[in-house]
Amino acid sequence: MAVTSPGQVDLREPPSWRRTKNRIATVLMVIAFVLVIIPLGFVLYTVVSKGVGIISKTFLTSGIPVIVAPPDVGGMGPAIAGTLVITGMATLLAVPLGVLGAVYLNEYGGKSPLARFIGFMADVMTGVPSIIMGLFIFSIWVVHFGLSGYSGLAGSFALGCLMLPIVIRSTQEMLKLVPDSLREGAYALGATKSRVSVTVVLPAAIGGIVSGALLAVARAAGETAPLLFTIGTVTIGGSPNWNVFKGTNTSLPSQIFANASSPYPGAQARGWGAALTLIVIAFILMIAARLVTARFSRYSHY
């Protein structure tokens, strides 16, 4: 738009002070952006430079070491296994429930007070601190089962609670974009409402739904707080626990948290290695989400 350059529109030259103020404001906005890039670049640089040296096949597969001080012993095998199974289970719980919830909000509830209230509370729920989800699962699940209550499953419940409102909201946004003419066409062919929702509306929005779910998974995979009191502590030196239903477990974020508060350089080095692994996983999920959006979205905001 030519209009956005004031010089062309403004017939009177603004006094120089007004232009100077305008320039100062623009420069301040750019500085604000630079202020954000610097720490981001610094964090990513530190994680990559300190983490890349320690990552190897042994690091990714061997157990959490018993003696933490030396730098080149043990690895993150159990933590990677834990992150995969706990986040995977949380996804299996939260994504179907969240998508169905969004189908209710968009296809059945519409503008009814109940649907609007649920949508509003889903937004509020995204703001509930993640540690509260940990305390919640602890008090509804872990305390009733004692020591055997600590398991990957309990952690998945906590992460699932965190993901549910995010999935509901992102899915609902995508369902809103599906044009009504598609629904009407399906009704005209005699389909029931459930059939229209499942076979017409959801497939039409699948790209956006999947990419929203991937972003929710990326967020959940990096969470530590909901797992602190739900998955128990790692069996030191033990092999990866691939069973999400039984036995204590650990995760990459939990291991980073443990190693960050350790005074030993060896433990800290493993912390950086785990941080790099975690960030790579998060980035892969984020890039996958972008690719899915680009490849499969039929309807978008633009």
């Binding site: 964090v43 703001g127 509930v128 540690i131 549910l164 980035f283 984020m286």
Partner: protein, 326 residues
């Protein structure tokens, strides 16, 4: 099946109600299932409130209003939460003071200054901030950032020592992990959400208003102050409140960089504690009354963040409705 094929064409979209008696069981079952999934949100929120309150009931009843004192002593079983509430407030305020101007400036940069093809990469970069997990911010904060900024704190501290107000705020004792370090890290973490929400709000300002301001000869800054700001004020306040809620609840980064010392002091460079951090650090080893107290702090945190989020979402939603009406 036959009844369906006959009934189908008669149903206009969204008004199946008159035919509801003739709908097959599976169709109605699906609707109930979907409704149940929607209600799950409300069920979980209620269950969070009920179960955590049950687990902390003994703390609330034993301490009564003394939960708002600052006596925190495991040896004598005194668990007043004031120092943690104070720490939460202070760190969240520091985070907001730093993050809000930066976020709003970036939102304005994206909507009013740069062309569309540049704004997308900038949005990607801001989103990257949100992808870095909390615990990685904490790891970087405690091992890299805190040791580095410690020296700056120390020299500022010795510089302002003895000066009335500045000395009280920035004077010694200074330490790497502190209220201020925690506030800075939280500021990085809430910048993406405040930016993206402010941007959404600012993007709704009608182009015609902006063009009108330019037509009257306004510079870009004057246009922003005259049209964009009055239009989006409310929504930005909502975005800021949501950022506040995030800053209050952010756990793991705070637990690592806040210094873990339950003190109430005006010295921002001194180590402190806040509500999520004390739960994260101590709940694992706690039992009995101590555990109930930490669970109770969680209940307080839940209540605070729910109130802030309800108010913030209410503001944002009312703002969005007014936009649509206009």
């Amino acid at each position: 099946m036959t009844s369906v094929t006959q009934a189908g064409p008669a149903i206009p979209a969204g008004s199946a109600r008159p035919l509801s008696e003739r709908r097959p069981l599976g169709d109605r079952g699906f609707q109930v299932l979907a409704l149940a999934c929607g209600l799950l949100v409300l069920v979980i929120l209620v269950l969070i409130a009920v179960t955590t309150t049950q687990q902390s009931a003994s703390w609330f009843s034993a301490e009564g209003l003394k939960i708002f004192t600052s006596n925190w002593d495991q040896a004598t079983n005194q668990f007043g939460a004031l120092s943690f509430i104070y720490g939460t407030a202070i760190t969240a305020i520091i985070a907001l003071v730093m993050a809000v101007p930066v976020s709003v400036a970036i939102a304005l940069l994206l909507t009013e200054v740069v062309p569309y093809r540049w704004s997308r990469p900038i949005v990607y970069v801001i989103d990257l901030l949100a992808v870095v997990p909390s615990v990685v911010w904490g790891l970087w904060g405690i091992l890299v950032f805190a040791p580095w900024i410690q020296h700056i704190y120390a020299s500022i501290g010795s510089g302002v020592n003895g000066i009335p107000v500045l000395g009280n705020l920035f004077g010694p004792p200074t330490s790497g992990p502190s209220f201020f370090t925690c506030g800075i890290i939280l500021a990085f973490m809430i910048t993406p959400i405040v930016t993206s929400l402010s941007r959404e709000v600012i993007a709704t300002v009608p182009a015609i208003d902006k063009e009108g301001a330019y037509a009257l000869g306004a510079t870009r800054l004057e246009m922003i102050r005259g049209t964009v700001w009055p239009h989006s004020q409310g929504g930005v306040v909502g975005a800021v409140l949501l950022g506040l809620g995030r800053a209050m609840g952010e756990t793991i980064a705070a637990a690592l960089v806040i210094g873990s010392s339950p003190t109430i002091t005006s010295h921002l460079f001194a180590p402190g504690y806040n509500m999520p951090a004390v739960i994260a650090n101590q709940f694992g080893e706690a039992s009995g009354e101590f555990r109930a107290a930490l669970m109770g702090i969680g209940v307080l945190l839940f209540v605070f963040t729910i109130i802030i989020n309800v108010v913030a979402r209410g503001i944002v939603e009312r703002n969005a409705r007014r936009k649509r009406g206009a």
